[in-house]
């Protein structure tokens, strides 16, 4: 393949790719995202490939994440425009025969909402999708991430061609006017950052993409890299042009082998086509991107730690009075943006700053990708305009809480963020509002918690996570978090003291005030925000030894509700410690009533998982078996 050398050639080649695509009357797009793969997309792909072997009329795509992970594996058939969910390899021959050959919709594979609820066929009609506005994720279900031709067919690399015909100043102005803010968490103005890096003193300038998406519960960047890697490359090359970058790096976390593979392949193709390398599109720009793999260290998502890690050192952050735009990688000017930020750049160049600002809020324009997970009906990856309320995200797109339970809190911003209660549901989601509410946007993980989640337990979880991930350089972070964790553990074990809350707040303030990097500064957020909004839950643990979410194992006991138990004995079979015994003389439909011996029970929840009647109940504060037996009516 000869290199593409001019903007004119880009256009011609795009048309060529488009007509190559148009030759296929039918497109089948199978979601090949991480979640769908875990649910069997691989076997499904094999089945499709077998069934479609030699068929010239169908283009079969193994695409990036479609987003609706909850009901995966997903298959979209176009132009019939129908979404099939939870598809199994056995369904494939029928799909090929009926939907592909005869244009029929297979009813049983369609998405249904609620019990026997409405049936949805088209992607645009499913509430999960229809309430979103996809920009960065728009191409995910349309293109094969391993094919640069697919990306080109949908206008890929137009923005690059266009940017290279503009002056770097004009490109920079467009990004500045768009008011694009960093999607990695900080929300820093990208235009300003680019400009500072461009004007910083130094011989060489580096363009870096942060793909060390360490926040547990977030997988936006992974899905962009897996689903549309070229958009990130295109954004970075445009950035290099505007900033005057000499070389590029992407730091991908080691836990994302699939993203690594997809991106590596995209880099190779971009080089072959001449979008990377020397004299890109005859502009005089020489630029290439190297991949660097992380090693499983959360703190390396922090800019200065990331640069140390890129250099092959230990990823410890340093004081922030030196800005990374001036002295980053190898102490040279470096511009670091995250995956989603880079992926937004081509869209801004293509459609203009004005267009970008037309969605979202005044101070946080554009869209944001969130991973909506936890105890919500429709988990998955979503892209919404900034300024949308939490309620719209959780209830309209997310379909509400799983199993009709009650909403308790939503955790945003990962370990650096906070828990927001029901009273915050109507807050518009943007960088500044969330920060004011005591949480933060973070990279976009959104974890929904229901009444069966314990906020103290979650705060403890995050604190322990951060202890593990703290690099240990600053004492307040290293030691302060240990002590906070100690107190939290005590509280969840029912040994909390009344003064514990005050202590936690004091410690938290000290950690935030006296740590160097963002990890330490924001580390107490999960604890402080949960005390702010859920003080009553802490007090229930401390004063009543009661865990309102029935999670903390020292404060709960398992029992079997005799009114619900049918006597099937499934629970008895799975109990690892033989805590479940039949109760003599209590004959039921299928056998004898069972009872859990609370003294023996290890609270592993195995019985609760298998009970077909949902007869296993969890009591908090913990009670003895005898107490439960005698007071079961009142306790119900």
């Amino acid at each position: 393949m000869p290199k593409i050398e001019t903007a004119e050639q880009v256009k011609r080649f795009q048309e060529h790719c488009k007509s190559a695509l148009d030759r296929f009357p039918i497109v089948v797009s199978l979601c090949n995202g991480t979640a769908c793969c875990a649910m069997g997309a691989k076997e499904l792909a094999a089945a499709f490939e077998k069934e479609l072997a030699g068929d010239e009329s169908v283009k079969f795509i193994k695409s990036g994440c479609h987003g609706f992970c909850e009901v995966g594996p997903l298959v979209v058939v176009r132009p019939l425009d129908v979404v099939y969910q939870r598809v199994k390899p056995d369904d494939v021959p029928e799909i090929v025969d009926r939907s592909l050959r005869h244009n029929e919709v297979i009813d049983r594979l369609l998405y249904r909402f609620g019990d026997g609820g409405k049936v949805f066929a088209k992607e645009g009609e499913i509430p999960f999708y229809s309430n979103q506005s996809k920009v960065v994720l728009a191409l995910n279900s349309l293109i094969d991430p391993y094919s640069i031709d697919d990306y080109l067919a949908y206008g890929g690399y137009s923005a690059l061609a266009r940017a290279l015909e503009m002056t770097p100043d004009a490109v920079l102005k467009e990004i500045t006017d768009a008011n694009l803010r960093g999607r990695g968490g900080g929300g820093f103005d990208a235009g300003r950052k680019w400009n500072s890096c461009r004007t910083a003193a130094g011989e060489r300038r580096h363009i870096v993409c942060n793909a060390d998406e360490g926040d547990p519960g977030a997988f936006m960047d992974e899905s962009i890299l897996e689903g549309n890697p070229h958009s990130v490359i295109e954004g970075m090359v445009i950035g290099a042009w505007a900033i005057g970058g000499d070389d590029g790096f992407i730091y991908i976390r080691n836990e994302y082998p699939r993203a690594l593979k997809a991106f590596g392949n995209a880099l190779k193709q971009a080089r072959e086509y001449g979008f990377l390398g020397e004299n890109i599109l005859s502009s005089g720009l020489d630029f290439d991107i190297k991949v660097s793999r992380g090693g499983g260290a959360f703190v390396c998502g922090e800019s200065s730690a990331l640069f140390r890690s890129l250099e092959g050192e230990v990823g410890e952050p340093r004081a922030k009075y030196v800005h990374s735009v001036e002295r980053g990688y190898r102490d040279e000017p470096t511009n670091l943006n995250n995956v989603e930020t880079w992926a937004n750049v081509p869209h801004i160049i293509n459609r203009g700053a004005e267009w970008f600002r037309s969605t979202g809020t005044k101070d946080s324009p554009g869209t944001k990708v969130f991973s909506l997970v936890g105890k919500v009906e429709n988990t998955g990856l979503i892209e919404v305009p900034m300024g949308i309320t939490l309620r719209e995200i959780i209830f309209d797109i997310g379909g509400g809480i799983k199993g009709g339970k009650n909403f308790k809190a939503v955790q945003t911003g990962g370990p650096s963020g906070g828990c927001l209660p029901a009273s915050s549901l109507d807050l518009p989601v943007d960088f500044d509002v969330l920060t004011r509410a005591g949480s933060m946007m973070g990279s976009g993980g959104m974890i929904v918690m229901d009444e069966e989640t314990c906020v103290v337990d979650v705060a403890k979880y995050f604190t322990d996570f951060l202890i593990e991930e703290s690099c240990g350089k600053c004492l307040p972070c290293r030691e302060g978090l240990m002590h906070m964790s100690g107190i939290l553990h005590r509280i969840t074990e029912g040994k909390g003291k009344p003064e514990d809350l005050r202590r936690l707040v004091k410690l938290g303030d000290a950690v935030a005030a006296a740590s160097l990097c963002g990890l330490g500064v924001s580390a107490p957020n999960p604890v402080l925000s949960s005390i702010r909004y859920f003080e009553d839950e802490y007090l229930a643990h401390i004063n009543e030894h009661r865990c309102p979410g029935s999670v903390c194992s020292a404060l709960i006991s398992y029992h079997i509700d005799p009114a619900m138990c049918t006597g099937c004995g499934t629970c008895e079979k799975v109990c690892p410690v033989d805590a479940i015994k039949p109760v003599p003389d209590e004959e039921r439909k299928d056998g004898l009533l069972r009872e859990i011996d609370a003294d023996v029970c290890e609270k592993c929840s195995a019985c609760k998982e298998v009970c077909p009647e949902e007869a296993i109940v969890v009591e908090s504060p913990a009670v003895t078996t005898e107490h439960y037996r005698e007071n079961v009516t009142e306790m119900r």
Binding site: A35, A38, P216, F219, E255, G374, T379, S605
Partner: protein, 138 residues
Amino acid sequence: MLAVQEKYNWLPSEALDYVSRRLNVRKPRIYHIATFYKVFSLAPRGKHILQLCMGTACHVRGAKLIADAMARQHGLQFGKTTDDGLFTLERVNCLGACAIGPILVVDGEYKGNMTTNRANAIIKRLKREETGGEGGNA
């Protein structure tokens, strides 16, 4: 070092000596790095690698219960290899498949919507295969 880790599944000290000589980097620095990053292991790992995701989303969906059950029933501890060298249980923070958590990765294969019972069954099956001779498949 990542390549060494991938090849042997851990970092034998001989390999680190070699890395040190070849790259002309002193050993304390190599060990500093080897102990800082979670991906490196300085002890041999088991035949089967089990990675339990302890990300937030998996946590609220009960990953902790699974971890407790594996510890109690099979003596599997995070970061440890069982005495028979069969299993290593590792704790990972978010594998990016939160939507179907909790996730257990068994020798590189993702298994979603994990429960204590399913985890138990998987470990039992692997154990049976080992004791049931070469052809054992259950």
